[in-house]
Each structure stands twice: as structure tokens, then as C-alpha cells.
Symmetry: C2
Subunit: 525 residues, 2 copies
Amino acid sequence: MSSTAPEQGGGQGYVRHIKVERPVLGNNLADAQRLEMALQKNVGADSVHIPFHLLKGLPGKLRHWDYSARAVMFKDRRSWRLVDLLPPDPDGSQAGQVLGAAVDIGTTRIVIRLVDLDTGVALGETGLDNPQAAIGPDVLARIHHSNRPGGLAELQKLVVDGVNTHLAALCETCGCTTDDVFILTGAGNTAMTHLFLGIDAFEIIKEPYIPCINIPDTLQAADIGLKIRDGGLAFLFPNIGSYFGGDLLAGIIFSDLDKKEMPCLVVDVGTNAEIVVGSKDWLIACAGAAGPALEGGVSKMGMTAGPGVIDTVAIDPATREVRVHTIEEASPIGICGSGMIDLAAALFLSGMVDIRGKFVPETCGERLIEQDEIPAFVLVHAPASGTGEPICLTQVDLNSLTSSKAAMYTILEVIVKNTAGLEFEDLDKFYVAGTFGSFINPESAISIGMLPDMDRSVFEVLGNSSLGGAALMLTDTTAFDRVMAIRETITYIELNVNQEFMNMFSGAKFYPHTDRSRFPSVPGR
Amino acid sequence: MSSTAPEQGGGQGYVRHIKVERPVLGNNLADAQRLEMALQKNVGADSVHIPFHLLKGLPGKLRHWDYSARAVMFKDRRSWRLVDLLPPDPDGSQAGQVLGAAVDIGTTRIVIRLVDLDTGVALGETGLDNPQAAIGPDVLARIHHSNRPGGLAELQKLVVDGVNTHLAALCETCGCTTDDVFILTGAGNTAMTHLFLGIDAFEIIKEPYIPCINIPDTLQAADIGLKIRDGGLAFLFPNIGSYFGGDLLAGIIFSDLDKKEMPCLVVDVGTNAEIVVGSKDWLIACAGAAGPALEGGVSKMGMTAGPGVIDTVAIDPATREVRVHTIEEASPIGICGSGMIDLAAALFLSGMVDIRGKFVPETCGERLIEQDEIPAFVLVHAPASGTGEPICLTQVDLNSLTSSKAAMYTILEVIVKNTAGLEFEDLDKFYVAGTFGSFINPESAISIGMLPDMDRSVFEVLGNSSLGGAALMLTDTTAFDRVMAIRETITYIELNVNQEFMNMFSGAKFYPHTDRSRFPSVPGR
């Protein structure tokens, strides 16, 4: 499983060096029109929008700069537009830096990356818990709050203030200021995008589930309270519907799925398991709440990564000796999702969990205790624990993991086999996106039947693909057109939780599956 | 000479009644996209821009209004755009009114007209002296001031504050408020337009005479300090160059010159004499400062119309009895331009001025006196005058009028004969625009050789064509495209004041002309 960073799209970025035709008697075209002509020629477009505020002082600037300039541009649905006009020769000081900020607007976590628009280089990254969590932990609670008087504005202010504060701090760390940030791009799910923009989100959760907007126009960042350069722009990824957000579209362009010759698959393990399969010729997506059987989802398992959190677990099948690894090798305080998958795989492979996903008292031995009358596996005994309490995995936790892994496998099977009509073997690449996904050990995930039993080299970690797509939008001038083309061509499958699905789901709840032939590489007991 | 008001362009205006498709399961298009589709269908365009601020509350409005609405629209260079969305059924109260304001931004005088965007009906009009006169009486002085620190902002504030105050008063008179004004359109010369927008005008007066902008984008009215409805738009007519302003383009669409089957001519007698001749097939314009011979121009003659100002003069050729008419029939206090043309014609026809434009002592008799050693004709004796002083026309005044009328005739001849290759007789209509032009008696103007000796029915008064064009832009959705088409096709002639011109000018300084055969209808002495 190797890490990948899809390369930047072709052509120049958004910082252009331009030369404007000099005015002479006999060619009395206005300065703005000559500037527009130079920009049009540079970007190869029929029209470039020059914002009104850049007209002020334009004649003086053009003459002072001898009709050369650096133009900071952006391209969206409407047209190419000029963001700002700068002196032609950056003097090498920080003042010449032209930066953009990419933001992954997660329901739980927000991540901000600072990118040099001239070179495409990422300067730094920072993250924060979504401050809207103070209102409610999940989308539903926040949308209900947004419908109360003042609620929407409150939610918007929380997230925008959070981004402003952390972006300013990130800029300081990188030796620049928010005045150097000309464009901010954001990708989030449909609800988070609405709340970020401060527009009505309530209909998103009411049948027939209609967002207020699918394709937000590029805005003046100041219009939504973002503190970047005066006149700077804010671009939010479009969505396809209430359950198909801009984060997923961002992930698709980041994975280059829309450019692939052979079918590939992206699974983003976030609040929901979102899956897109396809190639340059077709794309099929499946996302969103998938009925009661799937409630909770894999991302609810375990705790957020941090010092002392167990991220890897190994059990010697012969001796049943348990070894754990914690982040920063601190005393263990809990277990994260990827650690839990490792643990479940190790327990299964060492015979301590049976094919139904139940603890086996005989093999678990003294590590199996009862907590509130529920069987629990002691992963770390109290004396070795950083909390003073034993760190346990209860049968309830394990059942939840079992449901989640079964749901994941079933959805993958439905979309790849039943919908796309492929076999897993037909997939050229299997990208695992999302922060959680980045830490999954595919060997373990395959062992418990969460991911299909494919050649391990097919799996690739994408990392935060939503952030990656947002960053791509800052540097790849073709990115927006790709997003719009994907919107037009993608087939979105509402997961139909019918009897057939439930039958498939039932088989997938076994370890690794009722049909062992699907997992030939998983050792039998 | 009959008054004409060109009829409104074809099709609907900018207030549209729309129905938005209802959302259902299976069609999860966002509200904004369904609104855009309804608007696109209504106006027959591929794209309609919905401003961000109208997204706030959109889902609630659409549902509350049962998916019907009145849409206030506007169309410019970029696209159709939604200005505001209103409840579907105006309740008949003033609250339902959708108004626009058309503004003629004259160097000397500003005129504002309030128009009902729904019906196209003009509700009222008001005027004010351009408050920038406090800085300088003419364009040159103001542009020089605009180049001083804070000067540009000061000039802009003066004019915008003036418009705000008078528009608010006009609204009150008409029983509405500025909140009912959704769009403001303005037409002015290139310099006045720049100063109104608050953008650099200095290069306009410096070789090679380059404006900052030719085609201003439609703006949020608030961005330039205009106080109309929140989110209301401001549209300023484009120009073709420093000496070919939006006022002239507004005049062309108002005159419908670009739709004429047969060649017609528009002359706007403002600060400069601006002339456009042409038809739907071609247009030729000539405008701007025409060299030292023409300095001053016809508009500088006499005083501004007002009570007591002499606007008509008649002299009995037999008895040489002088009769004057004053505005509001008050005691005479002075003479306006049209009165002066009447006076010059009457003096010439009664033999009191010779063909060289000099007073004839024998025929003038006791009315010819000397003022500071300059011959002067006493039009009104002191006892009858409202000022207590005699009202006189000096030989200097008359020389100035002679130069002006010769310049006007020569420019007309150059553009019609030398440039367009027509005879005056080929013109189907001869439109006289401008406030000053409205009062000219063509009989008198022909008698002194200012206007060509054509069938009197060919002459038509257009009135304030700049204001008329600005108002047309509020109600005729094809107006902007017409303006852009005119910009593309019109030929602009720089008046070349060469030896040939000066020869023609010399002949035109006689009364009515050295070549009497050009003025067959003017009685010989």
C-alpha cells in the first residue's frame, strides 16, 4: 500500500505573467479592455471578468509597471476572472508570495492546507475540530439548530471563525500573512457546505431532500466572513445532491478516477462510507446513509488518533501473546478504528473470535472478562494502561465492528458486482481515502472480510482526498471543468436496502464471510 | 418639428412571472438550480446568474410562494442575472412596485427619471445641477482635480450624493421609496462616467487619450454608494473612447438610428456638437472637441432656461418692431441659446445684420449702441427689463454665435457629404437632441445657416436622448445588445480641422452661407 499524490493537471497555474498592449494614438482602447485582451490571450478564453475594485488605480499601475504585470486568476463555471493584479517582478521577499488555502470542511474535523499558487507547492497544513460540534456532534443536530432563529448564522460564524483563526496561525507558521492568501477553496459534504456558506440547509434532511444549491458561484471571501486578502475569492465545491457532497467530487478529481483507462475504485471511509467506481468512460457512485443496518458506520469505531492511542495490534497465533503499538509510543489510553480492525483480525486469526464474530472463551482465556454482564476482551491490563483502567473491547463494540465491516463489504459488492457488473479482480486500483482509511492495514481489513481479498499492491492510500481535491482546485486550471464533467456523467446509486441486500449483508457478517472461497488468502484456522 | 418618443423594444421587460418546478423524490435538483432553470426557460438563455445574497431564505420563499415568483431580471454583457425575487402576486399596494431610475449624467445638468419596470411607464422626473460644478465648471478642471489626493473620491461623492438626494425626493413625490428602485442606469460622457464610478479619469485628457474602461460591468449599486434597494444594480453605459461617451450611445438607441431603413441623422447639441448619421446598415459618428475654431460651441450661448429668460424673438421685417417672449412671461432678464438663434435670424431677415454677421447701423437705428466701444443691439430697453439694465446682444456675442453656427453647419456638411457621401436631401429624418436642441426653432436655425435648408417635416426633436436611452435600458431587454452591436459597427470620425475644413468653415460664417443656392427657402433681402 503506497502513498500517492496525483500529479498536478496540465498547463499553467493561476498566476500568469502578462504583457498589456501599449496605448497609442489610433488605438484608443481603454486600459481595462487592453488588460482584458491580454488576459484573454494568456488563458485562451473569450472573456475574462475584471472585478470593479481592480479598476481603481489601474491606469497608474499599468503605466508604472510599464504594461507588465502578474495576474492572479481563477476559473469557474461563469468565466475566467482576475483576482488581483500584482507588479511584474516579485522582489523575492514574502510580499511577492501568492498563496491559496484549501479546506476540507469535515463534519468532525477541518483541515487547512496552504499552497503556493505560483509553484503548486504545499507550504503547511493545520487542523481543527469543527467548532460546530459545540452545537451538535452530527449533521442532523446542526441542521435542526440551523432552523432556529439565529441558528444558521451562529453555525456559520463558528466554522468561519475557526477557519480564520487557524488559517492566520498557519500563515504565521509559514512566514506569511492572510493577506498573501488570494483564493480559498473548500470541499465538504452538502450540509457542511451550506452551513459554511450560511444558506438554508433544512430542506436537505426533509423529504424529498433538496439542497438550497448544487453549484455555488465563486464568492468574494469577505462575503462569508473569511479573512484573506481584500478582494480574495472563496470557492466551494458543488454537490450532486443532499447525500453526494463536494467532498466526494473533490476526492474523485484528486484520485484522477475520471482520467483512468481501467476501472478503479475509491472508498472514502468518513462519516459515511462513500464509494466511487469507474474510469474515464463511466463513473458510478454510492454514498450516504444506507439504512438502519449501517447506522454508526466504521468511522464511529474507536477514538481519534492521538498520543497513547493504540493504532496497531498483533497477536501471535501460536502463543496468543498480545502486542500493541501506541501513537508516539505513550502509555495506552484507548484504541482507534484502524487499531480495532487490527485487533479483530488478530483475534479472528488466532481463534479467539469465531466466524460469527463472537469471543471464544476457550481461546481468550483470562483476557475475557465481563463488563456490566457483557463479555469484554482485555487488550491492556490496568497496570499497563495510561488511564489506570483496563482497555477493553466488548462484545457490543465487536458487534458494531462486525456490522460495519459487513456493510462496507456488501456495499462494495453491490456497487462493483451488481451495479458495475465487474469482479473485484477487474479493478486496476483500489484507493482508500479519508483520514481513517489512511491508517487501515489492508491485510487486517481483508482478514476480517471488510475489504475484498485482492492483490495487496492494488490498494493505495489516498489520504485526505477531499483536501487533496480542494488543493488541486487551487493549482489545476482544468479542475473545475473536470468537476462539472463528472457531475454531468456520474451515476449516483441510492443504496436499496432490500431483501437481496440484507441476504448479502448477512453472509458478510461472518469472518471473513460465509463464502470462504472469496477470501483465499485468509488463512483458515 | 414634432416630438417623438421611440417605442419600447420588443418582448417582455425585466419583471418576469415565473413558475419553478416542484421538487419530488427522484428529482433532487437544488432549489437554486431549479430556479435557474425556470429563469433560463423564461428568458431563453443558457445561464442566469443568481446572486449569493438571494440564496439566503430561498428554500423557504419558494415553498411559501408555492413555487411561483416575480423575478426582477437584468441582462448585460456577461449574462442574464436575477436582481431580486418577489412574491408572485403583487397585492396592489405600493410595496409591489418594481421601479428603475434612469440618469442622464450631464457635465452641467443631471436628470433623473423614475420608470415602472413592469409597465414601462415613466412616473416622474427631476433634475439637478451637477454638484461637481463646485469643483470646476468643465470636464478638464474636474479631471485635474480628480488627480489630486482624495479628489476622485470627492468628485464621485458629490455626484452620487446629489443623485441619492434627488432620487429619494423624486421617489417621495411619486409615492414610493428608494427601496422600490431595483436598477439604476446612467449615461454620461466618458469623463462623467468615470467620475461617477470613481475610477481614474486622468488619462482621458492626456495623449493618447485612453479611458480606464470602455465597458463597465453591471455593479451592485451600493458598491458606488448609490442608495437604492439592497442588492440593486447600477449599469453605466459603455463608451467608445475618451470623446465618444455612453450618452451618445444612449442617444443612438433612443433615436432607433440603428434600426432605420433609410439614413437619418442625430445631432446632440450639448457641450460639444455630437453627430451620428446612418441606418441599420452603417453608422458614422463625429464628436468631441473640433479644434480652436469651434471652441465654445453652441451650448455656451446665452443663459439656462428659467423664468424671465427670453426664448423667442420676432422682428417685423417691415416695421422692425421687436417682440420677445419670456419663459413664464416674467419680466425679461436675459436670453437663452434658442432665443439668440431666433434673434440672429430675425435681425438678418429684417436687414439689421448683414451677410457677414455684422450689425447694420442704418437699419438698427437707435437700438444700436456701444458698450465698452463694442457695438451692441438693445433687445429690451432698461425700463422694460427685469434687471433694470438693458438686455443687449453685442457684436462679440454675435460673432460667437456666427462661429458656432458655421461650425455646426460645417461639421454637418463634413459628416453627411464628405464622409457619408450623401446629400442632406437623402436624410429621412434629422433628429435634434439635447435640452438646448429641443428649443431651437428650425426655421430660425435654417435662416442663419446653422441647419441645412431641408423640408421642415424632416426635423424632429428627440429631447434628452441620453436620458431616453438610459430609460430604454431599463425596459428593453434588447437594448444592451444593441449598444454592443453599435459599438462594434460604428465608424468614429476624428474631425480633421485642415485647410479644406477651414475653407468650408469660412463660407459657413456668412448668413446663411456664401453659397445662397444651399438655402433656397431663406428669403433674400
